[in-house]
């Protein structure tokens, strides 16, 4: 019989019940969407790595004579190995020098497909040997609209050579298409071309050269042990750098993305489920309050504590069951969308979408736990009510202590005397717990909106900082071979050029007792004015560089367990010599984890003197494009980037995040809507007689709606700043988890974003008033004034 009553309660509160199911459903759907999306993405990447035989490690070699790939293949633990020529050249799109990109030429076996780092051909065909034919990586092809049959012009050592694109393919090595770790992904500026080995060698003018040996190990093999064996086989003096899969640029960046996805998959559902739970708690508390008399009657008739407890827990469980079902269906659709978005964005060639039994079970368990957690307190309260007390009016219905709230007394001199203003204020204090939970619910919804928006604002801020503080140049040119000062002096006289600075930027390996890191090392004259340093520890950048020490980022210092004065061993591929470098300063960098030293250190590491490979040019804004063209035409120019274009393309690429922004903001606002709707709906239900009386004695529905609005606004006034503060704090915690060597985010939200969120909240609150206000308009006054409360 009590279950029948539960069902009737559900029917009697259809709107409120549906709201709760939606809130729980949204919470569960976030859990399913992000968890399944994360697993889908992970599985998709794993499948790509497995099916395309992504190398477990690769070894760069310098002295290429006599590289015995066959001997490497024969080593224990090696499943497959490929020796390849890899070389960066410049590329002119359609032969136009103003559209240049860095092109990485990668050799393929002269026949058949590579046993390691295979390609997934998406269009066209495999290249023929001897035909100057190439397969182009899909990312660049998509960005530039290049198709099979198109011709590309490559610039190598003062010559322009043409290759014909015959196929478009995805590669496990370049799913995240970056030339090096920590680089800003800019697919338009980085092309990967796969040519038959003979053609590749001929193209770059290095016949018979192998620069890289990529290895897939046996499934059970100790990868590091196999790597050591391969290094021994190749000859340690010949090894420039060994890169495990985890450190491979694409793999590293992908792992970062996936890890961020994992953090988000834990964080967002937790927040949304907390909101769902609090909303359900509020609703159930109100159900119990509004049914005090019925509870009293049930107990007077002989129903036990346990039966009454079960009755209200059943209500929560019905919400949990329907919420889980709704959440799972919606979440599965969203998971597919999320995985698809990520797979497209990251260039993962396969999409694995599954229904995960653990997630189905998890959603059911979380939904049940959240609803039981929310329901247990009100249900216990209901079961413990003594019948006689329950059948009397709720003492909470009046102001506690029969006193005007302190806040009103304090504000009395400035508060309007009109009771239409004072009644809403007192209603807040009438049931403090209810007001508290409403504030918490709305603040949580704000938290979600603020944290989400903060991610985008922080990203904007990071780019803004990159543009205006960190990178103090307009055009950057990287050259294939080092050059002397004269080139900088020459560029300085070009029209529109206001400043030229030089640096030697090298790949480098850093080793400490705490770990190893492969990244880039920038050697420049102090104070390296093309870069803005935010030093957090140690000397100033000028002093640190002048002292011969390193300036490293906080994240790298943490990874390598380095403090000021500690020493790291450093080596570059140019020369097989390790040197010890002390940490002189620790800086905060927004993007990447660059390490800076002075040019003397660069010379010690490379053996080169007065040689640079990178120009940082400052120009008048209108001349940037012209300077870029001239630099691109300069012999040996590998890649030329205009900072403004880089940032614009990165921003454009990040456009896919709009989907998440929209989704999460919609979730936040939907949550706010349901929380406020449930609150107001319950407010009107609980105060039916009071509102009916006001209307009967002549109060217009408009003024009653105004009173509800004031009450709502007051709640919002408390909840909004709390939500903003909690949101920023949460963003801080979240970013601490998300930040890595690749980038560092700091919690930040633009004032205009806060304003937009507040307006959104206001609109949501006003919209959520509509159903209760319509109820007030339709109130049967004759019945409402007779309701026993």
């Amino acid at each position: 019989m009590l279950l029948l009553k539960v069902w009737r309660d559900v029917l009697a509160r259809k709107g409120q019940f549906a709201g709760l199911v939606v809130v729980v459903g949204l919470g569960i759907s976030t859990f399913v969407a992000f968890q399944a999306g994360y697993l889908d993405l992970t599985r998709s990447v794993e499948r790509a790595n497995r099916e395309l035989r992504f190398a477990d490690f690769s070894v760069s070699v310098s002295d290429t004579a006599g590289v015995k790939v066959a001997a490497v293949r024969a080593l224990p633990g090696v499943l497959a190995a490929e020796g390849r020529l890899i070389q960066d050249v410049s590329l002119q799109l359609g032969g136009r020098s103003d559209q240049t990109a860095l092109a990485r030429v990668v050799g393929l076996p002269n026949t058949g497909r590579p046993a390691v780092n295979d390609l997934l051909l998406l269009a066209g065909a495999w290249p023929r040997r001897g035909g100057s034919e190439a397969i182009l990586h899909v990312k660049f092809a998509q960005e530039t609209g290049t198709r099979p049959g198109d011709e590309l012009t490559l610039g190598t050592e003062r010559q322009h050579k043409h290759v014909r694109v015959v196929g478009i393919a995805a590669s496990p090595e370049y799913m995240y298409a970056v030339p090096e770790k920590g680089a800003l992904p800019s697919p338009r500026e980085f092309a990967v071309l796969f040519l038959r080995a003979d053609d590749a060698e001929r193209l770059v003018g290095r016949p018979g050269v192998i620069t890289d040996v990529a290895v897939v190990t046996e499934p059970e093999a100790d990868v590091r042990a196999v790597l050591r064996a391969v290094e021994d086989e190749l000859g340690r003096s010949r090894v420039v750098a060994s890169t495990l899969r985890a450190d491979q640029p694409s793999s590293f960046m992908l792992a970062e993305e996936i890890d961020q996805n994992r953090v988000m998959a834990l964080f967002l559902p937790a927040v949304i489920l907390a909101i769902s739970s609090s909303s359900l708690f509020i609703a159930l508390s109100r159900l119990v309050t509004s049914q005090r008399r019925e509870i009293g009657l049930e107990k007077a008739l002989g129903y036990s504590h346990a039966q009454v407890l079960c009755q209200y827990l059943s209500f929560a469980l019905v919400v949990a069951a329907l919420g889980a079902a709704l959440g799972f269906v919606l979440g599965d659709v969203l998971a597919r969308l999320i995985a698809q978005q990520y797979v497209d964005m990251l260039g993962v060639p396969f999409l694995e979408h599954h229904v995960y039994p653990e997630i189905v079970a998890g959603s059911a368990a979380i939904s049940t736990a959240a609803c039981l957690l929310a329901g247990i307190v009100p249900a216990l309260r209901s079961s413990r009510l003594p019948p006689a007390q329950a059948m009397h009016a709720d003492p909470n219905a009046a102001l506690a202590g029969g006193r005007v709230p302190l806040l009103e007394r304090l504000l009395s001199p400035v508060l309007p005397a009109a009771l239409v203003v004072r009644i809403p204020l007192r209603n807040l204090f009438r049931q403090k717990r209810r007001s508290f939970y409403t504030v918490v619910g709305v603040a949580f919804a704000m938290l979600l909106a603020v944290t989400t928006q903060s991610m985008f604002d922080a990203m904007d801020e990071m780019l803004e900082r990159f543009d205006s503080f960190s990178e103090r140049w307009d055009v950057q040119a990287v050259f294939a071979e080092p050059f002397g000062r004269s080139r900088a002096a020459e560029v300085a006289h070009w029209p529109g050029v206001t400043d030229v600075q030089t640096a030697l930027v090298l790949p480098a390996e850093f080793r400490t007792d705490g770990g190893t890191y492969q990244g880039s090392l920038t050697c420049a004259e102090p104070p390296a004015g093309f870069h803005g340093f935010q030093i957090v520890e140690g000397r100033s950048a000028q002093e640190a560089l002048a002292s011969g020490g390193m300036v490293i980022t906080g994240t790298l210092a943490e990874k390598l367990q380095l403090g000021i004065g500690d020493v790291a061993r450093v080596r570059t591929p140019v020369r097989d010599q390790w040197i010890d470098l002390p940490v002189a300063a620790i800086s905060t960098e927004t993007l990447g984890a660059p390490v800076f030293v002075n040019l003397d250190v660069g010379r010690r590491l490379t053996g080169l003197s007065e040689r640079y490979n990178t120009l940082y040019v400052t120009t008048a804004a209108t001349h940037a494009s012209g300077v870029k063209d001239r630099l691109a035409d300069t012999p040996g120019a590998l890649s030329v980037s205009v900072k403004a274009e880089l940032l614009a393309r990165f921003t454009e690429m990040m456009g896919f995040m709009d989907f998440y922004q929209g989704l999460l903001l919609a979730f936040g606002l939907a949550m706010a809507f349901v929380v406020v709707y449930n609150t107001l709906n319950a407010n009107v239900t609980e105060r039916t007689r009071e509102i009916g009386t006001m209307r009967t004695i002549g109060e217009g529905p408009g003024r009653i709606a105004w009173m509800i609005t004031i009450e709502n606004l007051l709640l919002g006034l408390v909840a909004a700043p709390l939500g903003v503060l909690l949101g920023l704090r949460t963003a801080d915690l979240l970013y601490a988890q998300l930040s890595s060597e690749a980038f560092t985010l700091t919690a930040y939200i633009k004032p205009e974003s806060v304003a937009i969120i507040l307006v959104g909240l206001l609109v949501v609150m006003l919209l959520s008033e509509i159903p209760p206000v319509l109820r007030i308009l339709r109130l049967n006054l004759a019945e409402a004034t007779k309701v026993m409360e």
């Binding site: 003492p395 219905a397 009046a398 102001l399 029969g402 005007v404 309007p416 005397a417 009109a418 009771l419 239409v420 004072r422 009644i423 007192r426 209603n427 009438r430 007689r689 009071e690 009916g692 009386t693 006001m694 209307r695 009967t696 004695i697 002549g698 109060e699 217009g700 529905p701 308009l777 006054l781 004759a782 004034t785 007779k786 026993m788 409360e789």
Partner: protein
């Protein structure tokens, strides 16, 4: 042709009023072709069993319900076809209500409950001293001058109902309607409330209509309307109504 005789003293006029409720698939006629005239200053008690139509009549003349057919004229206004907004203004201007369950606003003190009605009527809208004095004066009239700043939860049932009477009178309405105003009170407090309503009726000339099951109250009325099956079955006129304090039940 109208069956009722309307004079300048007539405050409430019902002409052939019908009220039918749709209850699922059944139509229930709560008021069946009723004609009635109530004069200014009358103290009227309506008696009848449950479902006889007495509360429906009160709802109709109070403007919280509309008739299915017929005309209802209150103080010269035909409210039969009024919309929500006009009925709200009508109730605000013309009618004071006293409910069985007092229906005070729990977050307002006794004085503020009366202020609320005053502010509604346009007097004391800004809660000025005059408005506050008026509220205090009205509450003093119903014997609550010591309980002005108490909240409803701190008042007894009788006290709450007397606040409700003061609230009903705050607007200086032409008509005060009481729906079982003593129904939730004991004899002593019920008498106090009834006395307060009678006194207002005498001193201010306010027309008071009380719906009740409580037969003895009829002795205090100028006129008693007996309802049965949606019609007025009998009208009694008391030439010498007894003072409410002498009524016993």
């Amino acid at each position: 042709m109208s069956k009722v005789t309307v004079t300048p003293e007539s405050l409430v006029v019902l002409e052939d009023v019908v009220k039918t409720y749709h209850m699922g698939e059944v139509d229930v006629t709560a008021l069946n072709h009723t004609d009635l005239v109530l004069d200014r200053g009358e103290f009227v008690v309506i008696l009848g069993p449950s479902g006889s139509g007495k509360t429906t009549l009160l709802n109709l003349i109070g403007g919280i319900d509309s008739p299915t057919a017929g005309r209802i004229i209150i103080d010269g206004e035909d409210i039969s076809h009024y919309g929500q907004r006009e009925l709200t203004l009508f109730r605000r201007r013309t009618v004071g209500f006293v409910f069985q369950f007092f229906n005070l606003i729990p977050t307002l003190t006794a004085r503020e409950n009366v202020d609320f009605a005053l502010q509604l009527s346009g007097r004391g809208r800004r809660g000025d001293d005059r408005g506050r004095e008026d509220s205090a004066h009205l509450l003093a009239k119903v014997g609550l001058s010591e309980r002005l700043e108490h909240f409803p939860s701190q008042l007894s049932g009788g006290e709450q109902q007397r606040v409700a009477v003061a609230r009903a009178l705050a607007k200086k309405p032409a008509l005060v309607l009481g729906d079982e105003p003593t129904g939730n009170l004991d004899f002593r407090t019920g008498t106090l409330v009834l006395s307060a309503m009678r006194e207002v009726n005498r001193l201010l000339g306010t027309t008071v209509v009380i719906v009740t099951h409580n037969q003895p109250l009829a002795a205090a009325a100028d006129r008693v309307l007996h309802f049965r099956e949606g019609r007025i079955s009998r009208i009694e006129v008391n030439a010498h109504p007894i003072p409410p304090e002498d009524v016993e039940w």
